[in-house]
Symmetry: C2
Subunit: 357 residues, 2 copies
């Protein structure tokens, strides 16, 4: 509907007592673009973005239509934040640690090595003050960030050699983003960041020696088992990574209240559903990797994990010291995590142990 | 708006090219009642029901208004299913194991002793075929059941004596609903079921010797620490209890598609948010119970847990043998759980262990 048609219909409706704004909100179609860091339709991540768009469209009865673009369709994978900030797209779907060069504090809203699980991140974000801190960090960029997906505990990654000691990490060129990469660097490795779609080629060609991505469901989809033999756990560096919906603040504020409520609720639905999808798909994918593709699943040795944990703590504390905002977020995050660990010791952890004993 | 007014306005709107149904859906206010098993505004459970109602009202721009009733306000706590089935209320908020006398199979959609965690239940329900089985079980009653909350791993319960061996369970009169109660019975105890609001009085007066309820956040709210000294873990009997939204099928089908999408999405939002609220509130409540109220937190002994697990398996298998439907659900549930356990052994469990090591 163009503006003239809208005014005519709105005027007629007002004359018969319906109220122009009500009719307008029932009739006007708003069109939004959503740019993403993922290959179009990539399982879990890309389909999560699709679900987010579909839900908004369905719940709004088509009043707000969101069209999804895969990485490179409109912009490169790692320019999602900038595109939403400048309004090239009204929405984005990505993860906050990709913006560490521009907003180091954003990493806290993605995942921390040896940090919170998905359940804990949701507790902190929605009921522990996390969202308010996130809003403050993104406000200067005119962007709103909201959880819209979680991978759960990730896998450690793919290696072409066994990791028997810390020495095996030295000189290792590994794709590992965010703070996990910084941990590897301190232990003598060389972290690199690449979009998911480039991992297979980089690993096959020897550009990198090792890579982490997400977990069995996603790693199977990229065929990483063809490029590396050993699959390590646990993913200490990403214990519950939040995928984020980015929303241009001006575009959001221009929406009527009911559409605002719909957009925010859709993010929450996808936040829950994506984790559920990983919970449902990872076990079968793991079985396929082991039985059909003969992948060797290995645990990081205990002393390697202990050292990774020690260095992780140092790296997170140094991030906290980088700015006043980072310090404030770190204190909130750590306080929540320490209390939660005490409770986890009498709930999730002993339950999972008793189930396996 | 009455029917006559609606027809007049709709007719006028159609004449001007808006389409009667669009105007109707923008103007008509539908009013629904939601009956619940919880005391009005009870933390987590009752407030979850409130959030569900509020979300539907907000996202629909007030076109669908849902009013929440606490236990006993319209009907007794355990008549929620019947009330929604006969249309006394369009919605309910409760948990499926309360209907075991009428629909034994419903228990699978609540929680199983030594069964799935919250994350696994969501995987099974949304992506593992669980919802389709749930729909089939409730169809004869004209009711739709959807997850709308989860407590996470619960606590074992409140006791006035230490549980050092299986002998200590003999003769124990304990409030414990669902299959957990059946497990206690096989081990010589006497399970009873009471609505949450009656637990404190029953425990104080000696009507029961022990009780489980949910976890620190909810148990603190009921003051159970004043009536018992020992607080046991883990809650083997309820490792991830789903709270359910019940929806009268005819009322649901009478809604326009966008409102249907809104109702279903609101259930998913609350399903996620309630678990997040427990994750955020339980740790602080635990600290308060221990530091201010001197509660003694105790682990069930390993041999007691082993026996509880063995009997749990028997009880669940007997439920599975009760009907063709129960057998079908059990096979789906068990297959999902067994695959998930294998994956959990290389993901959540070793991660939580490494974080504490």
């Amino acid at each position: 509907m163009d503006r003239r048609e809208f005014l005519i219909k709105g005027g007629a409706a007002a004359a018969m007592g319906l109220g122009a704004s009500r009719v307008a909100s029932a009739r006007t179609t708003i069109k939004w673009k959503m740019v993403t860091t993922w290959p179009k339709n990539f399982p879990g991540l890309g389909t999560g973005a699709n679900n987010l768009a579909r839900l908004i469209t369905e719940m709004s009865g088509g009043r707000l239509k969101v069209k999804v673009y895969g990485a490179k369709e409109l912009i490169p994978a790692f320019e999602v934040f900038d595109a939403v900030s400048r309004g090239t797209a009204e929405m984005g779907h990505s993860s906050a640690y990709y913006w560490k060069g521009k907003v180091p504090e954003a990493q806290f809203f993605s995942t921390m090595p040896f940090g919170m699980t998905a359940q804990e991140m949701n507790g902190w974000i929605y009921y522990g003050g996390g969202q308010e801190l996130w809003d403050k960090v993104y406000a200067p960029f005119g962007v709103i960030g909201r959880p819209a997906g979680n991978t759960g505990v990730q896998m450690g990654g793919w290696f072409n050699k066994e990791i028997n000691s810390l020495d095996d990490l030295k000189g290792l060129k590994m794709r590992i983003p965010g703070l996990g990469g910084e941990v590897l660097k301190r232990l003598g490795g060389t972290p690199v960041n690449l979009p998911g779609g480039e991992l297979f080629t980089a690993l096959t060609s020897g550009t990198i020696d090792a890579t982490e991505w997400v977990g069995p469901y996603n790693d199977l989809a990229f065929g990483l088992y063809k490029a590396a033999k050993y699959y390590y756990y646990p993913g200490f560096h990403e214990p519950g990574t939040i995928l984020e919906a980015l929303i241009n603040k001006k575009a959001f504020e221009a929406l009527p209240k009911d559409l605002q409520a719909i957009v925010l609720a859709a993010c929450k639905v996808v936040n829950m559903e994506m984790l559920a999808e990983y919970a449902a798909r990872n076990p079968g994918a793991l079985e396929q990797l082991v039985k059909e593709h003969h992948v060797e699943v290995r645990a990081y040795p205990d002393d390697v994990l202990r050292q990774l944990r020690k260095v992780s703590r140092e790296v997170v504390e140094e991030l906290a010291a980088q700015s006043k905002a980072a310090g404030e977020i770190y204190r909130s995050y750590s306080k929540f995590l320490e209390a939660s660990r005490k409770y986890t010791r009498i709930s999730d952890l002993p339950y999972l142990q008793a189930r396996e004993a």
